[in-house]
């Protein structure tokens, strides 16, 4: 019993570490599978950064579409990021968080446009927000907000 108390810190650390590793990996794999499937499904909704519609577009319905996603890190990624930041170079464990958040937010925005019958979104921009800030002890998360102007069907008359 005493031994457990003596090494409580270590046990908690190993527990968080393993949970982070297995749960985080499983979640990420599932999320990526879902992202790839939906990207195929919504490939028909085109995304542009141009501020104006392509030439030849007549009068169309426009509407603001947004999609936002918050992706959190896990304890394992956090420890690994600490090591990466010690040695420098790419913080590889956090790359996938940003990647997932960006793609997920675009997908949600596309889904909104798709539901409204739009096939094209122009003037797409991103906003990001770091949740948890610079505090070492907090689990970090990243929010990505994608927004743009969906062009609807050609307006009549």
């Amino acid at each position: 019993m005493d031994a457990i108390l003596d090494f409580l810190d270590v046990i908690v650390f190993v527990g968080l570490f393993l949970t982070g590793y297995f749960a985080g990996r499983w979640n990420e794999r599932r999320h990526y599978a879902s992202i790839r499937r939906r990207e195929q499904e919504l490939a028909g909704v085109l995304v542009f950064s141009n501020r104006f519609p392509p030439h030849g577009t007549g009068r169309v319905d426009t509407r603001l579409v947004t999609g936002s996603a918050v992706i959190s890190d896990d304890y394992f990624k956090n420890v690994l990021a600490g090591l990466y930041s010690f040695f420098g170079g790419r913080v590889r464990s956090y790359e996938s968080l940003i990647d997932r958040a960006r793609r997920e937010s675009v997908l949600r925005m596309k889904a909104e446009a798709n539901a409204a019958g739009a096939r094209m979104i122009i003037n797409v921009k991103f906003q990001t927000f770091a949740i948890g800030g610079r505090n070492q002890n907090k689990i970090k998360g990243v929010e990505v907000l994608a927004y743009g102007t969906a062009l609807g069907a050609q307006a009549r008359g």
Binding site: V12, L83, F86, F87, S96, D99
Partner: protein
């Protein structure tokens, strides 16, 4: 309207951590190696440089603790102090160093030297020693540590070691790691190295010979410790022994020193005075009595 399309973007550009566990172990091993080498360098520097601290600084460090244990009006402690004074007069102590012996009325088979020339002698060990010569060897050995300023060197080593470890573990950003390493850092804080033990043995032996004219009792001390270890079973050796060089090698080393010095290996032994023996017995019985 022209035909537009969005290309399929390549996968994996922003998800490059295909084998995170391998990266983790590689980096953790590198951090551990860095930490270990930094700790060794720090510990070496700490241990080497601490000896150059002025003796007054060392006394100042232990001051607040030493105040709690002033010299007592106890026949055993007075006897031990007198013996230590006689021995230390024959040793070249650093300037201003004053040895103060504390008698600790506990079963532990141990004796130790700490900062500021303080030496502690436990009843458990004192009872097991056959005569004054053997006791003098133990005391002279501990005074030898003080003479060579081992306690401050050991403290410096321990503190520098802990500092190095805390640097590395803070870099890795993990509080848990820091606390594990902190515990092992504390352990080294309290031990003397083997070389230091041998140095103290040599100093103690020389003082013993100078005081009694022969080296009788020098090796017995360690036989007593060894048999005490066997009585208790190998699983629990006395603390004094566990940090000290292996007994047999140590005895052989002392015997070699005695023959090299051309000293008499043995001679007339001085018993521990009857009054002191009685005082030890008395304090032991008092300790056994249940508290009222």
């Amino acid at each position: 309207m022209p035909e537009y399309s969005n290309p399929q973007l390549p996968e994996g550009v922003n998800d490059s951590d295909a084998r995170p566990l391998r990266s983790f172990f590689a980096m953790a091993a590198a951090v551990a190696a860095l930490g270990a080498s930094a700790a060794l360098v720090f510990a070496f520097l700490g241990g080497t440089l601490a000896r150059y601290l002025p003796y007054e600084t060392e006394v100042g460090l232990i001051g607040p603790y030493a105040e709690k244990y002033p010299p007592r009006d106890d026949p055993v402690e007075k006897y031990l102090q007198g013996l230590a004074d006689r021995l230390s007069a024959r040793m070249r102590l650093p300037e201003g160093m004053k040895i103060q012996v504390h008698y600790v009325d506990e079963e532990v088979v141990n004796a130790f030297a700490t900062l500021g020339g303080h030496v502690a002698m436990y009843r458990g060990l004192l009872e097991k020693l056959p005569d004054e010569n053997a006791l003098a060897m133990v005391l002279a050995h501990e005074v030898g540590h003080a003479q060579h300023r081992h306690p401050i060197a050991s403290l410096g080593r321990g503190i520098a070691f802990a500092a190095a470890l805390s640097l590395v573990s803070a870099g890795a950003g993990s509080g848990a790691a820091e606390s594990i390493l902190g515990q092992s850092g504390m352990l080294t804080l309290l031990t003397f190295s083997r070389a230091q033990e041998e140095e103290a043995d040599a100093a103690g032996l020389a003082a013993l010979v100078a005081a009694y004219g022969h080296a009788g009792g020098a090796t017995e001390t360690f036989r007593v410790m060894s048999s005490a270890a066997q009585e208790k079973g190998r699983a629990e050796p006395p603390k004094f022994l566990s940090t000290h060089p292996v007994t047999r090698e140590r005895i052989e080393r002392l015997e070699r020193l005695i023959s090299q010095g051309g000293w008499k290996a043995d001679g007339g032994r001085t018993p521990i005075p009857q009054a002191v023996r009685a005082a030890i017995e008395q304090s032991k019985n008092e300790a056994r009595k249940p508290a009222p």
